[in-house]
C-alpha cells in the first residue's frame, strides 16, 4: 500500500493533459464545459482526433488499435481526458460491440467492423431492450427466423440510444422460442439502412433526442452477421453487460462535475449549509475514487465480478447527488428551460437543471440500480 501514484503515472497524466490542451477543439471544449447535448457528430469528431494519436479505443488489445495499457492506466486516462475539459469518448461501438467482436467475432467480422469504430466513422446502436423486456431482458421477443442465407427479423426495440444516427445496430433476437428464455437468444449485427427498419425518435425529459424506438418488419439480415454460435447470444451479452457496468460507475464524470461545482462556487457567495453538503459529497467522492483504485490495484489479475454492481449503485448515486447540488447552486436561474432560456440567461448555469434531469438515467440504464442490488444480494452477499 502506498498513498501516491508513482512518478510514471503522474507523468502519464500530464502527457495526456498537454495533448488535450493542444488537440481539443474549442467548440467541443465549450460544449463539454457548459454541459450541452453532444450528438453523434461531435462524438465522431472527437473519436477521430483521439484516434490520430492512437487513443480512441484504449481498452482494446493492441493488435486492433488499442493501447495495451493496464486497467489502472486506462482509468487514469479516461479521468484525465475529462478533467482536462474533453467530452467523454464512449459509444456502444467502442465500449460494447468492440470487446464482443474481439472475444467472439470471426476474423472477417473483426476486419470489417473494428477499424471504422476505432476511427469514429461508424456508429453502433445497442438493440437489447424491448417494450415488454427491460429489467427482464431475457423475455425479449424480437424474432429471427432462418431463411436460406438470411435471418428474417421481426420485432420492436426501444430506448435504443443514437439509433437515428447509427449505421449499424447489434441486437439480441430470439432464434429458438422453444428453449429456456436465456438459451434461445442470438446476437445479430443489423444494418440500419436495411428495408423494413423504422426509427421513431423519443424525446427525453431534459429535451434530449438520443433515444429511439426501432421497428423491425421482415428485415433480412445475412447469416454472416451472426456473432458466435446460434442461440448463444445471451452469454455474449452477459460478457458485454459486465463491460457496461464498470464504465457506468462513472467516477470520471462525477469528478468532472464536482470540479465544475467547485469552479462555479468559487465565483459566487455560498451559504455555509451548502458548503457543508458539498464537503459531505466530496468525502463520498474520495471514497468512490479509492474504491475504484482499490478494485484496480489490489488484485489486478482478477476479472471484474458482481462487485461491479456495487460500484454502479454507489457511483450513480454520487453522480446524481452532484448534479442535484449543481442545480441547487443555480438557484432561481435554474427555472429557465435550457432550450428557451431568454436573452439574459447566465450561460454557465443554463444547462444545470437539464443536466440534473438527464442524470436520472444513470440509475436506470445498463441495468437499473434495483436489479444491480438484486445481483449484489445474491452473488456477493449470498442471500
Amino acid at each position: 500500500m502506498r498513498l501516491t501514484l508513482n512518478q510514471d503515472e503522474l507523468d502519464f497524466r500530464s502527457i495526456v493533459d498537454d495533448w488535450v490542451q493542444k488537440n481539443l477543439p474549442d467548440d467541443l471544449r465549450q460544449m463539454a464545459r457548459l454541459g450541452e447535448h453532444l450528438t453523434r457528430k461531435e462524438f465522431s469528431r472527437w473519436c477521430a482526433i483521439l484516434d490520430s494519436n492512437g487513443w480512441s479505443v484504449p481498452a482494446w488489445p493492441k493488435e486492433y488499435g488499442g493501447t495495451g495499457w493496464s486497467p489502472l492506466r486506462r482509468h487514469l486516462f479516461e479521468e484525465q481526458l475529462l478533467l482536462s475539459g474533453a467530452p467523454r469518448n464512449t459509444s456502444a461501438g467502442i465500449a460494447m460491440l468492440g470487446p464482443i467482436l474481439i472475444a467472439f467475432g470471426t476474423q472477417d467480422q473483426k476486419n470489417k467492423y473494428l477499424p471504422s469504430i476505432r476511427r469514429g466513422e461508424t456508429f453502433w446502436a445497442q438493440g437489447f431492450s424491448e417494450p415488454g423486456s427491460g429489467s427482464d431482458l431475457a423475455s425479449l421477443r424480437t424474432s429471427a427466423i432462418r431463411d436460406g442465407s438470411h435471418f428474417i427479423v421481426n420485432g420492436h426495440k426501444i430506448w435504443t440510444s443514437y439509433a437515428q444516427s447509427s449505421e449499424m445496430m447489434f441486437a439480441l433476437v430470439r432464434t429458438n422460442p422453444e428453449a429456456k428464455p436465456q438459451s434461445g437468444i442470438s446476437f445479430l449485427l443489423i444494418d440500419m439502412a436495411s428495408p423494413g427498419i423504422k426509427v421513431r425518435p423519443i424525446r427525453t425529459l431534459d429535451g434530449g433526442t438520443d433515444l429511439n424506438e426501432v421497428f423491425l418488419d421482415d428485415v433480412r439480415v445475412p447469416v454472416d452477421n451472426l456473432i458466435g454460435e446460434i442461440d448463444r447470444g445471451w452469454d455474449y451479452a452477459k460478457h458485454l453487460l459486465g463491460f457496461e457496468r464498470t464504465g457506468i460507475a462513472g467516477v470520471a464524470v462525477s469528478k468532472q462535475q464536482f470540479f465544475r461545482l467547485k469552479r462555479l462556487m468559487s465565483e459566487r457567495s455560498i451559504s455555509p449549509a451548502f458548503r457543508h453538503k458539498v464537503a459531505r459529497t466530496e468525502i463520498d467522492l474520495l471514497g468512490m475514487d479509492a474504491l475504484i483504485l482499490r478494485t484496480l490495484t489490489e488484485n489486478p489479475a482478477s476479472r471484474p465480478g458482481p462487485e461491479a454492481s456495487m460500484l454502479k449503485i454507489q457511483g450513480t448515486r454520487l453522480r446524481q447527488t452532484i448534479q442535484h447540488l449543481l442545480m441547487e447552486l443555480a438557484g432561481p436561474e435554474g427555472l429557465r428551460n435550457a432550450e428557451d432560456p431568454g436573452d439574459y440567461v447566465e450561460r454557465d448555469l443554463q444547462w444545470l437543471a437539464a443536466n440534473y434531469l438527464d442524470s436520472r438515467k444513470v440509475s436506470i440504464y445498463g441495468g437499473t440500480n434495483e436489479i444491480q442490488a438484486n445481483v449484489v444480494a445474491k452473488a456477493v452477499l449470498g442471500l
Binding site: G134, S135, I158, L205, L211, F274, I364
Partner: protein
Amino acid sequence: MDFSLSPDQILFRDSVDRFFNETFTKEDGRDKAVDWQALVDMGLTAAPFPDSMGGTGANTIHLMFVANGIGRTLTTAPFLPCVVMAGHILRDCANVPGIQPLIEALTNGTRKIAFAELSSGSITQTGTSSIVSGEARLVLEGSADVLILASANHDKLVIIEGKAKGVTCSPFTTLDKREAADLIFSNVAVNSIIAEGHQAQQMIARAQRTMKALLCAEACGAMQATLELTLDYVRTRKQFGRPIGSFQALQHRLVDMRIAYDLADTQTRVAIMAVEEADSPTIVRLCAAAHAQVVKAARLIAEEAIQMHGGMGMTEECRAGKFAKRLITLSILLGSEDSAIENFLLSA
C-alpha cells in the same frame, strides 16, 4: 389544531376538484388562453377579492384547494403569480385610485397582472411622478399586460403598463413550460406610487407569505398525483412475470414516498392555517417548516417516480417526468431546503 373542514369548505373543495378534473384532463397542446378563460369562467380569478370588490371572498384555505388542483392537473394557467401574488397586493391597495379597475380587469380576464421586484436599480420620486430604472429578473408571467413593481428593498410599489415606453421584456419558458420573463426598465415614467415605506413592505411580505404557502399546496397536489400515477404504474407494469409493484424493494420505497407526502401535506395545511389566522406569532416558523418538508418530499417523490417508471420515466411524454419538472420548478421558486431551515432557525 383542528383539521376538519366546514361544510362550506367541503362544498368548495369538491366543486374545485370537479372543475380541475373535468377541465384540465387533456395534457398536450393545451391552449394557455383557453385555460386562463376556464379559470375566469369558474370565478377563480375573483377568488381573493371580497364581495365589495366584485370578488368571491375566498380565504387562504379555499385557495389551498385551488393550488392543489393546479398541481394535481399540471395546469399552466398563471393562477398563483397573477391571482394570488398580484391579486393580494391589489386587494390590499384597493382604495388607491386606479386599482379597482385593475381588480376588475384581472377578475374578468381581460388583463393579466403580474408582480415583479427590482433586482437592481431603483424607483425615484420626482414631484408627482416617478422614474423607474433597473432590472427585474425571472419574473413569472413577466409579459403580463400590467406589472406591479416593487423596489429592491420593497419600500415602494408602482404600477407599470407592460407596454410602457422604456420597458424591455425578454420572455422565456420555465423548466415546466410556464411563461416568465426578464424585464429591463430604462427611465420608465410612472404616475403614482401605490404604497410605500413600512406599509409597502408589510403588504409585500404578507402576499409573499401567502404565495409561498400556496406554492407548497400546489406542490402537494403534484406530489399526490405523482404518487397515484406511480402506484398505478407499478400495479400494471410487469417484469419477470409479475407486477413490479409486487417487489418489496419498491413497495417499501413507495411507503416512504407516502409518508413524505403525508408530512408535507399536513405541514402545508398547518402553514395555510397560520397564514389565514394572520396574527399567529409562529407564522414564519410554521411556513418555514412546511417549506422544508415540501422541498424534501418533492425531491424524493419526483426522483423515485422517474426511477420506478424505468426508461419510460426518462421520456418527455411520461406524466411522471412532467410532474417531476413541475416539482423541481416549485422547489426552485420556494428556495432550497437549507434556506427553509435557515428561516426556521431565524424565527426561533
